[in-house]
Amino acid sequence: MDSIEAFQRRRMALYGWMLATPALILLTLFAFTPTVTTLWQSLFSRGTARRPQQFIGLDNYAALINDPVFWQVATNNLIYAAATIPVSIALALIMALWANARIPARGVVRAAYFTPTMLPMIAAANLWLFFYTPGLGVIDRIAALFGIGATNWLGQPDTALAAVIIVTIWKEAGFFMIFYLAALQTIPPDLREAAIMEGAGRWTYARRILLPLLMPTTLFILVNALINSVKLIDHLFILTKGGPNNASKLLLYWIWETAFAYFDRPMAAALTVMVLIVLGIVAVIQFRALERRIHYR
């Protein structure tokens, strides 16, 4: 008896490993190996023609921490995340509720909200140049009607980051709306009617029933928005190139600059490692803290 049971268990373990193998191979090739390589590379100095690379331990990290640009870029990215994540999620929810209601031309409304998502980020950025161009752009034309002078939205440190943030929100909200829309359509209309019969107003229904039922979707969107707040930098290439004076520079853009414009690969590797660590911690916190408070059906 025992040996049969042990045999069965070994067979199941074998199946398990066999099923996991393709994913393991791919992950090793394309995720684990590059991560370890990056980590290893960040421990070396930048090699030049005269001075070859040498092992310098954590010196790259020390240099980063002492670099004021690092702190500025990190702050920029924090502001970028703190603005784009909540605003785009809130907008997405409002748009989804609107597009889910019984309104005329519902299809048109949904398509209109979703269009920005289908545009490539570079195209979207080009589009927004038409809004932001000083003097000629749509925003300044409208401002001129009210007698306000031209503003260089992308060219001054005070407004550059905000201008970039607005483009990101515009791009993301429509995408997230689709997820909320799908989730809203799985909520039976009976629930709303039951709540109304029980005396709940629109706001009470939203807060006590709708939002809790949308929590799994919100978590999913939150993770996506967080990833995007690090990942989504394409528009910087068109709009500001991180300037002026680093005012709109984000971490990933700076990593790209360090690696491919200044050719300081080890420093870029050190930066990458730091981003990886921060993202890893955030992911763990998110799933641990939120998972417990979410009702999955």
């Binding site: 039976p188 709540a195 109304i196 019969m197 005396g199 006590r208 029933i209």
Partner: protein, 401 residues
């Protein structure tokens, strides 16, 4: 239900018409349509306090629409809705003082049983002590003790149904609307919950408007049945009224199982034309006979010749399936039958058991005969005469939350 238990009821029924209390719920020629599809069409309905009223009819006949119009979840295109003499046509559902049990139960999946039941009273801001007291009572009444902390997904179908009931009880409203509350339960459970709902309604003195498509459920539970057909009321009355004096062929066919036998006039032998030829009905007519009033005997006498196809012995009763020139017939007799040969037999019925309908309009032609029921001979008034008040059974209305 014996009349001795209801001294007040006797007095109410003997009151002159004008002195009787006004109905609790009144629909005044209410219509609702969506484009081409008709929800309800000019429905007039009166529901008295403490009554258990069942809206019955085939799928799509407008039962749910009627219920939702009372609830305020739909607004009528035409007509008015009154509750306690107040015109509530434009009033929001929450302001009408009624609770509702949905077919799907509509429990909030993320809330515990306790929070589901008390959702409404918490929203309305009732004092904590009151909520706790009502919760305790509702939970005890519906037998949900010990399940208060569970989520709906951790309950069986029957338990979920009880939570929905408890939510309606806790609200403390005098009116409860139920839309096919038993349709998601298995047959055995359905039978016991049926009685529990009836007992709850009696104990709380609630007025219940109950939707179902199941005529046995309606017959068993209702003080009053409102049978609907394609958005209109086909007949309203006590279960006895509908069974003993159906106002149309539709009612006759819908109420009773197996359904009433319909026999075209040309096939009725002279010996069974009880008083019909003498009176001129003008046009074609159809004789309806309930299976229990149809007697099939061997031998060729002056009855309707039939050929016996099958005999089903069901213990308490036996069903005989026969073929005749007028189509298939079903007869029901109590207990086992002496063996009938498959050959020549004939069907007969008593003159008092026949229902006569106009075959083109489907309307009842003849005033209902006095029919021997289990309670003795009951004279039935003509079907086309309104007989709301007299035909209406009342219910004791003491207690209440």
């Amino acid at each position: 239900m014996s009349n001795a238990a209801l001294p007040g009821l006797e007095r109410l029924l003997n009151m002159p018409e004008a002195m009787r209390p006004t109905p609790l719920i009144r629909l005044d020629s209410v219509s609702k349509r969506w484009g081409e599809s008709v929800g309800v069409d000019a429905v007039d309905l009166e529901i008295h306090e403490g009554a258990f009223v069942v809206l019955l009819g085939p799928s799509g006949c407008g039962k749910s629409t009627t219920l939702r119009l009372i609830a305020g979840l739909e607004t009528p295109d035409r007509g008015r809705v009154f509750i306690r003499d107040a015109d509530v046509t434009a009033r929001a559902p929450a302001g009408r003082g009624l609770s509702m049990v949905f077919q799907s139960y509509a429990l909030f999946p993320h809330l515990t049983v306790r929070d589901n039941i008390t959702f409404g009273v918490r929203v309305r801001g009732l004092p904590k002590a009151t909520i706790a007291e009502r919760l305790g009572r509702a939970v005890a009444m519906t037998g949900l003790e010990g399940l208060e902390a569970r989520k709906p997904s951790e309950l069986s179908g029957g338990q979920r149904q009880r939570v929905a009931l408890a939510r309606a009880i806790v609200a403390g409203h005098p009116i409860c609307l139920m839309d096919e509350p038993l349709s998601n339960l298995d047959a055995k459970l359905r039978h016991s919950v049926r009685q529990e709902i009836r007992a709850l309604q009696r104990n709380l003195g609630m007025t219940v408007v109950y939707v179902t498509h199941d005529q046995t459920e309606a017959m068993g539970m209702a003080d009053r049945i409102v049978l609907m057909d394609r958005g209109r009321i086909a007949q309203a009355g006590t279960p006895e009224d509908l069974y003993l004096a159906p106002a149309s062929m539709f009612v006759a066919g819908f109420i009773g199982s197996p359904p009433m036998n319909m026999i075209g006039a040309v096939h009725v032998p002279p010996a069974l034309r009880f008083g019909i030829l003498e009176r001129d009905f003008g046009g074609d007519w159809v004789i309806g006979v309930r299976p229990e009033n149809l007697e099939i005997t061997a031998g060729g006498d002056d009855g309707l010749p039939v050929r016996i196809r099958d005999v089903e012995y069901l213990g308490a009763e036996t069903l005989v399936y026969a073929e005749s020139a007028a189509g298939p017939l079903i007869a029901r007799s109590p207990g086992p039958l002496p063996p009938l040969s498959g050959g020549g037999a004939s069907a007969r019925w008593a003159g008092t058991a026949q229902h006569v309908f106009d075959s083109t309009t489907g309307r009842r032609l003849e005033p209902a005969p006095a029919i021997r029921s289990s309670r003795g001979t009951v004279p039935i008034p003509p079907a086309d005469q309104p007989r709301d008040a007299a035909g209406h059974r009342w219910c004791n209305a003491h207690g209440g939350l």
